[in-house]
Amino acid sequence: MGKKKWLTDDAKWGYLLVAPTIIGLLVLNVYPFVQTLVLSFSTTHPFGIYEISGVENYVRMFSSAEFWKATWNSIYFCILTVPVGIFLSLLTAVLLNAKIAGKSAFRAIYFLPMVVAPAAIAMVWKWIFNAEYGIINQIIGAHVNWLTNPALVLPACAVVAIWSAVGYDAVLLLSGIQNISKSYYEAASLDGATKIQQFFHITLPMVSPTLFVVMIMRLMASIKVYDLIYMMVDQSNPALTSAQSLMYLFYRESFVAGNRGYASAIVVWTVLLIGVITAFQFWGQKKWVNYEV
């Protein structure tokens, strides 16, 4: 009898407590999601009027060179940032795990970009990369157009992205490394394994689940990069098409040009792209992620 009362009471409170979140998600996310799908098949006119026009937006999108360039830019940005970023984060995490003084000070410094708005970060890096007076060109004594040369603009942005994320990723990896039982290392030391061997045979396999999470997170963030490029490459920059990511193109089409239908098609495409890349990663992880702890 008591058990039954528990259940009904449970259900009543259950619905009541999830209600704000679920109603919020329905209004703010589920409905907009459906609406974006509808918009992507519609022609939009000013003042929010739209009419269903079939696959027109998609046809236009797939035949647009600018769109394909933006898709490539987003993928290229991932290629530039993810492997190098993960490597540096892992290196930093391993070094921070050593028995050293001032560990928390180092950790705090590496983490600092995380609490600074990307807008401010982009501003100072734009200054550092400035072709005429930037400190980098002053140091190397050359006039390199970091942000206006089509071949260099994305690599330059990638440097900033990696610099911004390295501390955050390192903190995540560090907590993964710290969860590894000390006994593995003690046993390995007794067997005469060097630090390098210990890294490849203990640390790397044991931290691989965390590494996988960080990688997925970083891939998703990189493919939908927007704010950094928006701030570093303004719309009058001659290298804009070489730097424009999918989300930047989306922003320009939807909120600058007012092509909401076309912009919706772009964002639907981006979601599909993220889905494919993530699925690919989950498939690939079987080969290198070790869950046997």
Binding site: W6, D10, A11, W13, G14, L17, V18, P20, T21, I22, G24, L25, L28, N29, V30, P32, Q35, T36, G48, T92, L95, L96, I100, S104, A108, I109, Y110, F111, L112, M114, V116, A117, P118, A119, A120, M123, V124, I128, N130, E132, Y133, I135, Q138, W163, V166, G167, V171, L172, S175, T210, V214, M217, Y230, D234, S254, A263, V267, T270, V271, I274
Partner: protein, 277 residues
């Protein structure tokens, strides 16, 4: 033994060298921002560049402060963060508790909505969200800034994890003591999730402060902008006057950096907690 010890010392020195070099690279842009912000426009473009300003000018700060309504930007950003954090923690705690500790029909389906929202990029919602806001006539308000973040799917997921970590016996004991479900939630269990709520607070605050696309879209009136959005308009006004841009950037980042320096441990651990899950 002696050579081992030598090796050990050499390794340790190498670790310090690497970490220090990295730390210098991490700090340098901020130092450069600060130094540039005190230089005159002429000095900033001097070749070869000066490291320290010849005269420490505050005029760039005066100029940044008169070009942007910083007081308003601080105020708007503070309110945005405050409301987003309150909403995220309150609603996500309630939903997280219910999803973890209560049995009700359709629970899995409802939780699926939460999971799917978490995996989708926010941009897929942004056009209709803006259209709703415009229809309500609520653009250029504080409400507009908070709007897409009133509920947090991530927060729900994250706090559900925290409640799952509390043994069911705690709930049963509270029930036997005569606590109602509401009391079990608010008096018994919620206090046990304090560190997770703190982590969610930090996470929500940092991301609300960093967000750029939504504030730029929702509020186009300079007086209703956030620090990030305001800063991006400063870029258009002073395209080449970097000392003023740097002064503006310093003003925009200072409050968060001060908070970070005070609550450094909570920031780093909170973010590590939300990311690792």
């Amino acid at each position: 033994m002696d050579s081992l010890q030598k090796n050990y010392r050499r390794n340790k020195i190498l670790v310090y060298v690497f970490l220090t070099a990295g730390a210098v690279l991490m700090i340098f842009p901020f130092v450069w921002m600060l130094l540039t912000s005190f230089k005159s426009a002429g000095e900033s473009v001097q070749i070869p560049p000066t490291i320290l300003p010849e005269n420490w000018l505050v005029s760039n700060y005066e100029e940044a402060l008169t070009s942007l309504p910083f007081i308003r930007l601080y105020f708007n950003t503070t309110l945005l963060i405050l409301f987003r954090v309150l909403c995220a923690v309150a609603f996500s705690s309630a939903a997280g508790f219910a999803f973890a500790k209560l049995q009700f029909k359709g629970k899995n389906l409802l939780f699926t909505i939460v999971l799917v929202q978490m995996m989708l990029p926010s941009q897929i919602f942004i056009i209709p969200q803006y259209q709703m806001l415009a229809k309500l006539g609520m653009t250029n308000t504080i409400f507009a800034l908070v709007f897409p973040g009133i509920v947090s799917a991530f927060g729900t997921f994250f706090l559900r994890q925290a409640y799952l970590g509390i043994p069911d016996e705690v709930g049963e004991a509270a029930y036997l003591d005569g606590c109602t479900k509401w009391q079990t939630f608010t008096r018994v269990m919620m206090p046990l999730t304090r560190s997770s709520m703190a982590a969610l607070t930090v996470f929500t605050a940092v991301f609300a402060y960093a967000d750029l696309m939504w504030p730029l879209i929702a509020n186009t009136d300079i007086n209703m902008m956030t620090l990030s959005a305001g800063l991006s308009t400063l870029r258009g006004q002073f395209t080449t006057n970097y000392p003023v841009l740097m002064a503006g950037s310093v003003l925009a980042m200072v409050p968060m950096v001060i908070l970070y320096l005070i609550f450094q441990k909570q920031f780093v651990e909170g973010i590590a907690m939300t990311g690792g899950k």
